[in-house]
Amino acid sequence: MSTPTEGREVTFAQAINEAMHEEMARDSSVFVMGEDVAVAGGVYKLTRGLLDAFGPERVRDTPISEAAIAGLAVGAAMTGMRPIAEIMFGDFLALVMDQLVNQAAKVHYMSGGSLRVPLVIRTTMGAGRRAAAQHSQSLCAWLAHIPGLKVVLPSTPFDAKGLLKTAVRDNNPVIFFEDKMMYQKKGLLPEGSADYTVPFGCADVKRSGTDVTVIATSSMVHVALEAADGLAREGIDAEVIDPRTLTPLDEETLIHSVKKTSRCIVVDEGYQRFGATAEIAAVVGEKAFYYLDAPVHRIGAMDVPIPFSPALEDQTIPSPETVMTVARKLMGR
C-alpha cells in the first residue's frame, strides 16, 4: 500500500492526529496518555483536539515520569485497554527500558499466551532541531534488538496514518518512532475519511531505479530521495526503498531490489555503530551476496554525541551529499 497520487494534502503531524482520532472513535478501549498531551495538545501539537473530542478520561496528562507512563501503559494493556502512550523525546526511552524490554516484550510469552500487551508507545527521533545530545538521538535500534517488540518508522503522512492504525490494532507492544523534523512535511492522503491501514513488514519502493538500492528509514527516506534526484542528473539511477518497519523486516523486497541493482546503501539516522544499518546490511550480505557488485555500505549518524553547535550537528547526520558520494564510489566513479 503506497501513497496515493491524488488526494488531500496534510502534514505528517495531521496524519498522526487523524489516526488517533479515528482509532479512538472506532474503539473505546483506546486512550492517550503522556506529558502535556491533553490540555496543551502535545509539545508538537500531535494530540490537539483529542481532549475535546474524547474527554479527560481517555486523554490524560501525566507527571514528568517516563517510567510511570510506560509502567501504567503496560499494566493498562495487560488488563484489556489499548493505550497510546507518548514519550516526548525518544532519548527518554532510556528511562522506560525495563517496562518495555523486560515487561511489555515478555509478558505474552511468559504468561503462555494468556496475557497480551496491545500497547503503542509514540515517541520522537531525529537530529537537526539544535536540541543537543539528549534530545536528538534516533534509538530505534535499541528496541528492534528485542524480540517481542515491533518497531515502526514512518516516512510519509500516508504511511504514518496507516501504520499508526495498524499499531493500535496490533495485540503486541509497538514502538512508533516519529522524526520530529518531519511533522510539518506534507503529503497526500486518500480523499474523504477512508479507513485504510498499512501492514507491518511491508516495505515500500519510494523511487524505482536500476543502478543502486538505497534502503532508508524515516526521514532518511527524504534524504535518499534528494540524493537520488542528484544522482539522476549524473546518470546514476537509484532505487529508494523504505522498510517502514524494522521489526518485522520485509527482507524479500530489499533482497529483490538488490538483486536487480547489484549495489546497496543503507541509511538510518541512528548511530552507525551496531545500528539498524548494520543489521540490514548483514541481511543483504547474506541473502544477495552473489548478486553484489560492490560492498554493502552503511550510512548512519556519526559515532559521537550529537553536538549542539548547528555547524557541527549538520556534519554528524547523513545528508544527500553523503549518500551521493557513497553511491558514486559504489558505481566506480
Partner: protein
C-alpha cells in the same frame, strides 16, 4: 563399477602433474592399455595408458591444468553407467539466475579500469588495509559468480569497482570485446611451465653456487669433415654428423681426464668410471638434456643412430625419464645458429660443460702460411671447486688432439669400413 582415472605419480616426490592433452575424447570407448592422456612432469611429457576398459567420462582436467597427484580427473564408465549419466542432469548446476539476462540491461558507462594503487581513497569512507596478500584477486561476488559461469579467469585482472575490484561491467566489456581487452596490456603473461620453473631453479642455483671458469681454444675440424665425407660416401646408413664424432672424442678424453667426468655432491667429488654424455637440445620454449649412456664404449655408428633417435624424441617430448637423468658431462652446441663461441652454465651436479660453436672457414697459420681452415671454437666451463684451470685445459687439449688427429679418424673409418 566406474573406474577412476587419477593423475599418476611418475616420479619420486612428485606433487602435481600437468595434463598436456587427452588422447581420447569424452565419451570414447577405450580399452585397457590404450593411450589415454599425455602428462607433463618436471622432466618429460609422458603418455599414460588407460588403466581399464570403459567409456571415458567426467573429464575434469583440461589441457594445461596442473593437478595434484592422486586427484581424480576422469572416469571410465560401463555401458549402463554411461547410459544413465547421459540423462539430463542440468539441475545440479546451481545457476542462481539467467546469466545472459544479468549482462544485458545496464552498462553504467564505460568505466576505465584502474589499478587500486592509482585510485586515491577518500577520507574514511572506504578504508583499506594494506600489507595483506588476499587469497583472491579483488572482484565483486556477482562478477565472481558470472566469471565462473563463463569460465573467465579473474586472477591478475583489475577492474573499475571499489578498490579496483572487477565488477559486472568489466566482465561484460571483457566478454564482448576480448581483443581490445587484450590489447590494453603491453605484455602477455606466459604461464610458467614446470620445465621453465625447473630450468629457472636449477640454473640460478648453479650460477650462484658454482664458481665458473671458462677456457676456449680453436679446433681444426678438417680431419673430422674429411672423415664424415668418406663415411657418408661409403656407408649406406644414417649419415654421420659432427656431433657424433664430437661425442666420441669427448668420451675418450673424459676417460683420460676423469676429473671432468664428475659430480660434486655436498662437497664430495664423484669421478665416474663411465661416460653418460648429456646433449642440450633446444625446444620451442625450454630445453632438455637427453643422455647418451656409456658413450665411451660405443661405436660411432651406434652413437649416431642413438643420437638421431634421442634428439627426435626430445623435440617431440617423448623421452623416457631414464633418458634425461644421470648425465655425467654435458655438451651444448649453438653452431647451427652461427654462434662462434659461448659459455654454457654448468648443469648441476656436473662439474663441467663443453660449449661448441660453428665450424667456419677461418684464416689459420699452417707451416708458416696463412690458409683457410675449418675452425671450431670450443669452450670448457668448469666448477672451480672441483676442477682447476690446468685440468680443464688438459682435457680440452685432449679433445682437440683427437679431433685433429688423422689417426683417431682413421681408426673410426676402419670400423665404418664394413
Amino acid at each position: 563399477m566406474a573406474k577412476e582415472i587419477v593423475m599418476p605419480a611418475l616420479e619420486m616426490a612428485q606433487e602435481a602433474g600437468t595434463l598436456v592433452r587427452w588422447l581420447q575424447p569424452e565419451g570414447a570407448s577405450v580399452r585397457k592399455g590404450d593411450p589415454l592422456m599425455e602428462v607433463e612432469t618436471d622432466k618429460a611429457v609422458m603418455e599414460i595408458e588407460a588403466p581399464d576398459t570403459g567409456i571415458l567420462a567426467n573429464l575434469s582436467a583440461r589441457p594445461g591444468d596442473s593437478v595434484p597427484v592422486g586427484q581424480v580427473i576422469g572416469l571410465l564408465l560401463t555401458e549402463q553407467e554411461h547410459a544413465r549419466s547421459a540423462e539430463p542432469a542440468e539441475a545440479g548446476k546451481g545457476t542462481p539466475s539467467d546469466a545472459s539476462a544479468e549482462f544485458s540491461p545496464k552498462a553504467p558507462g564505460a568505466a576505465t579500469p584502474t589499478h587500486p594503487q592509482e585510485q586515491p581513497v577518500s577520507s574514511g569512507i572506504f578504508s583499506r588495509t594494506d600489507a595483506v596478500t588476499p587469497r583472491l584477486s579483488p572482484a565483486s561476488p556477482k562478477a565472481r559468480r558470472l566469471a565462473a559461469e563463463n569460465r573467465i579467469d579473474l586472477s591478475g585482472l583489475s577492474g573499475s569497482g571499489v578498490e579496483g575490484g572487477v565488477v559486472t561491467a568489466d566482465l561484460k566489456a571483457l566478454l564482448t570485446r576480448p581483443q581490445i581487452a587484450q590489447g590494453e596490456s603491453e605484455y602477455v603473461a606466459v604461464p610458467a611451465t614446470r620445465m621453465r620453473a625447473l630450468i629457472s631453479e636449477r640454473l640460478q642455483r648453479s650460477y650462484q653456487e658454482a664458481p665458473h671458469i671458462g677456457l676456449t681454444l680453436s679446433i681444426d675440424m678438417g680431419e673430422v669433415l674429411k672423415l664424415i665425407q668418406i663415411w657418408n660416401k661409403r656407408a649406406a646408413r644414417a649419415p654421420l654428423k659432427v656431433t657424433a664424432v664430437l661425442a666420441k672424442a669427448i668420451a675418450a678424453s673424459l676417460v683420460e681426464f676423469p676429473r671432468l667426468n664428475a659430480h660434486l655432491v655436498n662437497g664430495e667429488i664423484r669421478e665416474f668410471n663411465t661416460v653418460h654424455l648429456g646433449f642440450a637440445v633446444a625446444l620451442e620454449d625450454g630445453l632438455l638434456v637427453p643422455t647418451l649412456r656409456n658413450a665411451e664404449r660405443k661405436s660411432l655408428r651406434a652413437i649416431q643412430s642413438e643420437l638421431d633417435d634421442l634428439f627426435a624424441r626430445a623435440r617431440a617430448g617423448r623421452l623416457r625419464l631414464d633418458e634425461i637423468k644421470g648425465s655425467t658431462f654435458t655438451v651444448s652446441n649453438l653452431g647451427m645458429f652461427g654462434i662462434e663461441q659461448f659459455s654454457a652454465i654448468l648443469n648441476p651436479p656436473e662439474v663441467s660443460i663443453l660449449s661448441v660453436g660453428v665450424i667456419k672457414d677461418s684464416p689459420a697459420v699452417v707451416g708458416g702460411q696463412i690458409v683457410a681452415r675449418p675452425l671450431m671454437q670450443a669452450t670448457i666451463n668448469a666448477d672451480h671447486r672441483a676442477v682447476d684451470g690446468a685440468s680443464a685445459a688438459r682435457f680440452l687439449n685432449g679433445v682437440k688432439q683427437r679431433l685433429e688427429d688423422p689417426g683417431f679418424s682413421a681408426s673410426e673409418l676402419t670400423e665404418a669400413g664394413a
